[in-house]
């Protein structure tokens, strides 16, 4: 029995796995102690659970529990990593490098640092969404102190060459931060071998609850950060604030499940993704955004040319997906990630991001495929532009009359 709208938006957020909720419930009932309360079992039980969860998060990413700091989510982790490192090491240099396709949590944080006197280079990516390592090397300067590149892109699912970037940074003593919010449970992450200094994690992208995340802070070699939240000195002084055991326990369990089930889950989702791609075969003027090889199987970002974006989104209300537009204030802006790939605004607006997950089924994929095929055909039928294209007109040569 299909439940509408069908959820194909796992990159936006994931349902909390029932096993995770089960683990959380005791900490929403009888175990309500403040983990910082040292004077009674209410506090001790909470503290023990927090430390167990820390081990579970560390285990998924090949780190030591001591390297993991709890935060309220990946946005906060990214803010803490970038501002924390930039400010701590500002005497070494004030140049930062990141990519145009990073999440706003990284981009906006960088802009804030620019206002404070840092210089930021926002590198272009190639048409396939991947960073060109040569271009990266060329951008490095003597005063480059921090590099931030996300592991898996939230919009198009491509996997950046984190290992190689890490090697280059470590050679030059540059701190390397990676936003791994979309990566956990989807790609192998081994911080024992990856030369990454700071890594941000989100629980709610990996079937955990919202409101909790973590930041990996390398201890060998030791990375220092300027704390951004001050107070009772929690989390080694790096992030003050009462810890929420129920959320932490949820993240721990979510990451434990991810570690155990990732291989099998990825295989299953890869099959679903193939089915989805196959479903769009034969459709004209349909483009997949982002490299077809260096990507996670969960994500498929597709542009349907000659279809008006908003009409398309309205037409496919039976599936919950994301479009290539973001509502910023009153205007509808095309996705900056798609623009960075070289997509024209029109095409960016007519893009749909399908993201599959743990509970996605073949039935859902088939429904989505049929829905898109039907609606796209219908919308194109009504489109005068489509008529012209069918007749062989090169639209870029047309002189449009102004109204």
């Amino acid at each position: 029995m299909l439940k509408f709208p069908l959820y194909l938006d796992y990159s936006a957020t994931t349902p909390v796995d029932p096993r995770v909720v089960e683990k959380m419930i005791p900490f929403l009932t009888e175990h309500y102690g403040n983990p910082a309360s040292r004077s009674h079992p209410f506090g001790w039980t909470s503290e023990a659970a927090v430390e167990e969860a820390r081990e579970q998060v560390a285990a998924l990413v090949g780190a030591d529990a001591k390297d993991i700091i709890w935060t309220s989510g990946a946005t906060e982790s990214n803010n803490l990593a970038i501002k924390g490192a930039a400010n701590f090491y500002s005497s070494k240099g004030k140049h930062i490098i990141t990519l145009k396709t990073e999440h706003k949590a990284v981009l906006d944080t960088c802009r804030e640092l620019e206002r404070q006197g840092f210089e930021v280079t926002y590198l272009d990516v190639q048409e396939n969404g991947l960073l060109d390592l040569e271009a990266f090397r060329q951008a490095l300067r003597a005063d480059t102190v921090l590099v931030s590149v996300m592991f898996v892109n939230n919009e198009i699912g491509v996997i950046q060459p984190i290992r190689e970037i890490g090697e280059i940074c470590r050679e030059r003593g540059i701190i390397f931060h990676v936003d791994a919010a979309q990566a956990t449970g989807k790609v192998e992450i081994d911080l024992a071998t990856l030369k990454v200094d700071l890594m941000a994690f989100s629980a709610h992208k990996t079937y955990g609850p919202k409101g909790i995340g973590a930041l990996y802070v390398r201890r060998k070699p030791r990375i220092r950060l300027e704390a951004q939240m001050h107070g009772g000195g929690h989390e080694r002084g790096l992030r003050s604030g009462t810890l929420a055991p129920h959320q932490i326990v949820g993240m721990g369990e979510a990451f434990r499940i991810a570690r155990e089930e990732m291989a099998a889950e990825n295989a299953r989702i890869a099959k679903l993704q193939k089915r989805l791609i196959a479903g769009f075969e034969g459709m004209e003027s349909v483009f997949i955004n982002g490299d077809l090889e260096q990507r996670v199987p969960h994500n498929l970002n597709v542009s349907f040319a000659y279809v008006e974006g908003e009409s398309l989104i309205m037409a496919i209300k039976d599936i919950a997906v994301s479009s290539g537009s973001a509502c910023t204030s009153a205007s509808l802006e095309p996705s900056y990630v798609l623009r960075a790939l070289g997509r024209e605004d029109e095409l960016a607006h007519s893009s749909i991001r399908f993201s599959l997950g743990r509970f996605s089924t073949e039935e859902e994929v088939d429904f989505a495929v049929n829905l898109l095929r039907t609606k796209v055909a219908k919308l194109r039928e009504m489109s005068p532009l489509w008529d012209m294209v069918q007749e062989g007109v090169d639209l870029s040569t047309v002189q449009w009359a102004a109204h």
Binding site: A12, T13, M24, S39, T75, G231, G232, G241, H246, T328
Partner: protein, 385 residues
């Protein structure tokens, strides 16, 4: 092992059953990201706005004045650092008995050229007017004085302090984390008197850990501390913790019901405890000042507070020595030192903070256990000497 009686409600509170009930769907089938445009997202968005109204109503504020953050610590950081960022470095006045999550952000500002003036308090824990006037004469840019102290329960006359600060053009903030749900808070009235912002925390009012709010006059300027997707009108980016926010709203709504009768009930228990303590000759900190109805902070001279609390725990009573956030520290309470209490006395401080589920029997049993623990420790002390 019998569950200890929980007498440490100022550290945190049990999650109210009806709060848990409203939260669970948001950890279940209603999992959408509030920023998503589809049905899943829209439902989440609507729930957040309902919670915002509930929290606003709980403190007599307008919903647009409520900014959701991850907790009280973050709200305090947001105002103090965020407001400082929009002003040229100057003086920030901070009460001498503030919680570390107010003191520490203020101290951090020193690195940016700010001067921190710790506002002295009297023996009762109330702000001393002479020192406050000294501060105001120097025209501080910002002032932060908590509405009620987490250790002593002492309530400051924040409206009066804010009015004085307004005459000096200072931005005034109050940490209302401990006051919310125990005494009535009217932000509209406080705002009219000169309070620009106040901090709230969900887990102190029977709500979940992981949610708090900064309630702020929209005319006061401050910059966000967490940048990103632009949530909370750009003042706090990051996917909203919908379950915690919904729980916060429900808890705020619940506490607004029957506030007076609940406070009276708790005060009854607190007074019963203090009557018993009084008979044993113990002094209660701040008892000459207006106090929260549930808090009793007292000294047991000659006895190590941590040791006493440990014995009480083994006897089945969860209380605290000093505040939770620093209970591993070992240092005497900064609040008590600021009140002029001698360090040895401060080290013997014990805090009992009652809640809705506590009973008169528990208080009587506590007094019994307390007496026994005290006797044992005194014998030990004598033996050592």
């Amino acid at each position: 092992m019998r569950t200890p009686a929980f007498l440490d409600h100022n550290a945190t509170t049990p999650l109210d059953a009806s709060v848990r009930a409203v939260m669970l769907p948001w950890l279940g089938e209603r999992f959408g990201n509030p920023s998503s445009h589809h049905e899943y997202g829209r439902a989440a968005r609507a729930a957040i706005e309902t919670a915002r109204e509930q929290v606003a109503q709980g403190v007599g504020a307008h919903p647009t004045e409520v900014i959701f953050v991850s907790g009280g610590s973050e709200a305090n950081n947001l105002f103090i650092k965020g407001a400082a960022l929009t002003r040229r470095p100057g003086i920030i006045g901070v009460g001498a008995t503030e919680h570390p999550c107010v003191r520490e952000p203020a101290r951090q500002l020193r690195g940016q050229g700010w001067r921190v003036h710790e506002i002295a308090v009297d023996a009762a824990g109330l702000v001393r007017q002479d020192d406050y006037q000294t501060l105001l004469a120097q025209r501080p840019a910002l002032v932060s004085v908590m509405l009620a102290n987490n250790e002593t329960g002492v309530i400051q006359d924040v409206a009066a302090l804010a009015t004085q600060a307004r005459a000096a053009d200072a931005g005034f903030h109050t940490d209302a984390v401990q006051a919310f749900g125990k005494i009535a808070i009217d932000f509209r009235g406080l705002n009219a008197a000169g309070v620009h912002a106040l901090t709230l925390s969900a887990h102190k009012i029977g709500g979940p850990l992981g949610a708090g709010a900064l309630v702020a006059d929209k005319r006061i300027e401050f910059l966000p501390l967490v940048a990103g997707g632009g949530q909370e009108r750009g003042l706090r980016s990051g996917t909203e913790n919908i379950a915690a926010i919904v729980g916060f709203g429900q808890a705020a709504w619940l506490r607004a019901q029957a506030l007076a009768s609940r406070a009276a009930q708790q005060q009854c228990l607190r007074d019963r405890l203090e009557a018993g303590l009084g008979e044993m000759g113990f002094e209660v900190f701040g008892h000459h000042a207006p106090r929260l109805p549930n808090t009793s902070y007292f000294a047991v001279p000659g006895i190590d507070g941590d040791a006493l609390v440990g014995r009480l725990d083994r006897a089945g009573f969860a209380v605290a020595s000093g505040s939770a956030c620093s209970s591993a520290g070992g240092a005497p309470s900064a609040t008590l030192l600021a009140m002029g209490v001698a360090p040895e006395i401060a080290r013997s401080a014990v805090r009992v903070s009652v809640g809705d589920a506590n009973t008169a029997d528990e208080i009587d049993e506590f007094l019994g256990a307390f007496c026994r623990a005290l006797t044992e420790l005194r014998q030990l002390n004598r033996a050592v000497v």
